[in-house]
């Protein structure tokens, strides 16, 4: 299991707790995927994230390393699962506090924070709909089969979209909540238009 996935799970659980309380496994995968996407704003290669994602037949991003990360955090007592929702334990809070100060993970915080804090301006359903407007995800839902994410075509579109958004914002900020919320809002509108035409 990739160490960054272990950290991402614990970080996402911490951050989502502020907005929605306990979070489910699909939600952890979803926000890990969004965090990975947000690296494109800094024109980072997707491979730098450390692990990949596919999309399930139900249209949810899925990362095998994230799944392992959830299981390991539970077995180590960092996360507690009740009725399908995960919350951070006291041990988990301590572990997150320690790991988030380590050089390897400090950089990831920016993207994880940008991902989870998109719940500040936008409701959970809207964030989900925005992410699921991706062509590869829509195709998976329509055909009811798993699909690869981060194809060359979809990455190319996203690089263009993100560059345009940064142009509109103007000033440079390390706070990704702004471009993230604009991108998700735009994607949701586009997804709704495509649904109407289906």
């Amino acid at each position: 299991m990739v160490a960054s996935a272990f950290f991402d799970v614990i970080a996402i659980s911490t951050k989502l707790n502020t907005f929605i309380g306990g979070c489910s496994s699909p939600e952890i995968h979803l926000f890990a995927y969004l965090a990975c996407l947000l690296t494109l704003f800094d024109r980072e290669p997707i491979s730098n994230w450390g692990y990949g994602f596919i999309v399930t037949e139900n249209g949810n991003p899925f990362g095998l390393e994230i799944e392992k990360g959830v299981n390991l955090n539970v077995s180590r007592g960092n996360l507690e699962e009740v009725d399908g929702l995960y919350t951070l334990t006291k041990r988990g809070k301590g572990e997150y506090s320690l790991l988030s100060s380590l050089g390897n993970f400090v950089r990831r915080e920016k993207y994880l924070e940008g991902s989870c804090s998109s719940l500040a301006p936008l409701p959970l359903g809207y964030v989900r709909q925005g992410i699921k407007s991706d062509e590869a995800i829509r195709s998976a839902i329509k055909l009811e089969q798993t699909n690869l994410l981060f194809t060359e075509a979809s990455l190319s579109i996203m690089y263009t979209e993100f560059a345009e958004i940064l142009d509109v914002i103007g000033s440079k900020t390390s706070n990704l909540i702004i471009p993230s919320s604009i991108w998700l809002s735009h994607r949701t509108k586009r997804g709704q238009k495509l649904d109407n035409n289906d």
Binding site: T18, F19, N60, G125, I141, S174, I178, H186, K189, D195
Partner: protein, 350 residues
């Protein structure tokens, strides 16, 4: 990518002016402020606010509102009783100090423009909400047609809980912007022609906004001739819900053709759903499927194409008249939930 639409969205985003005015400190204040707003609206429906509410968070350390005799609380649940006693001419001003510390006042007015010089200010009054940043009022873009505030959109893990919420808050008073359009008049006496698509879209939007860990899709084919209205697939389990929608009441076309559906339509819907469930068992045998019949009930007594107003007696005649199902599939089958009837209130003249 449509640049004009993107620029339009960017302009509607309150985060850009907040960032340009206060920098990253403003963004952090925004996060704390919106968390507080959500926590408050968890306990208090914004539609039921008796007065104007102003919530603020200072962006400068050490500065706080300096008014006498604040009510100090550590949990926003306690704000409810404070706000409840407010009158329509009063303003409740709430300052967010940190996540466990708030202070509140009940006053005649608030100068939001002045306050917004050093603080991020949120104001909501009669379901209109804005942020005020450096004296400028910024409209808050609310994607949902169903909720008074973008910060009050709940989440549900149970479909039954979500449907119950929809019944009481959206369908009953046709609160949803989408659902409102199914009526011919403001008095909500009879429907437009074929209102079922509007009803489906309204419920679909609601479920997409509030249901966690589920994929919601419209018009899913179960057999070749009749698609089910809404299909809900849970992401973590092998569970599926099939929702069949029917309406009762009267509708009218542009050519004044009148259609009336009574209880028999609901019974038809029940049979249809039972048939879908049987077909679905064959198509998807490995999944656990539950069927839900949702009946939008807009029945009124004595309605004709010439009716333009409604008395309360006639308008509410069917309010408590439940449909008598035969057979009662919800008792005979384990995969058929008790049918739900959403009575839709008219606006009565007397």
């Amino acid at each position: 990518m449509d640049i004009d639409k993107l620029q339009d969205l960017a302009q509607k985003s309150v985060l850009i002016p907040i960032f340009h005015t206060f920098g990253d400190v403003g963004i952090e204040a925004y996060k704390q402020l919106t968390i507080a707003i959500r926590r408050l609206f968890f306990h208090l429906a914004p539609e039921k606010l008796p007065c104007t509410l102003v919530i603020c968070k200072f962006t400068v350390e050490g500065i706080h509102i300096d008014k006498p005799s604040p009510a100090k609380i550590t949990d926003l649940e306690y704000a409810l009783s404070f706000i409840d006693t407010c009158t329509v001419n009063e303003v409740v001003l709430l300052e967010v100090i940190d996540e466990r510390s708030y202070q509140m006042w009940k006053i005649e007015s608030v100068n939001c423009s002045e306050l917004s010089v050093n603080a991020l200010v949120y104001r909501i009054s009669t379901e209109q909400e804005q942020f005020i940043v450096d004296g400028k009022e910024l409209e808050i873009f609310n994607p949902s047609p169903l909720f008074a505030s973008i910060f009050s959109i709940p989440t549900f893990r149970s479909l039954e809980d979500a449907l119950e919420r929809y019944k009481h808050t959206s369908a009953r008073f046709s609160r949803c912007r989408i659902l409102k359009s199914c009526w011919v008049q403001n008095e909500m006496i009879y429907y437009q022609n074929k209102p079922e698509r509007i009803m489906r879209d309204s419920l679909l939007q609601f479920l997409e906004d509030v249901l966690r860990d589920a994929e919601i899709r419209p018009e899913q084919t179960v057999d070749e001739s009749h698609p089910i209205d809404i299909k809900v697939t849970w992401l973590q389990t092998k569970r599926i819900a099939l929702i069949e929608i029917k309406w009762l009441g009267n509708s009218i076309t542009h050519e004044s053709k009148f259609t009336s559906y009574s209880q028999a339509r609901a019974l038809e819907g029940a049979k249809q759903l039972a048939d879908y469930l049987d077909l679905n068992k064959i198509r998807v045998p490995t999944h656990q499927t539950m069927g839900y019949l949702v009946v939008f009930d807009g029945r009124r007594r004595g309605v004709t194409p010439e009716t333009t107003s409604m008395s309360c007696v006639d308008g509410l005649w069917y309010e408590y008249q439940e449909v008598k199902y035969a057979p009662e599939y919800h008792y005979l089958r384990g995969d058929f939930a008790e049918p739900l009837r959403f009575f839709m209130m008219p606006i009565c003249t007397s």
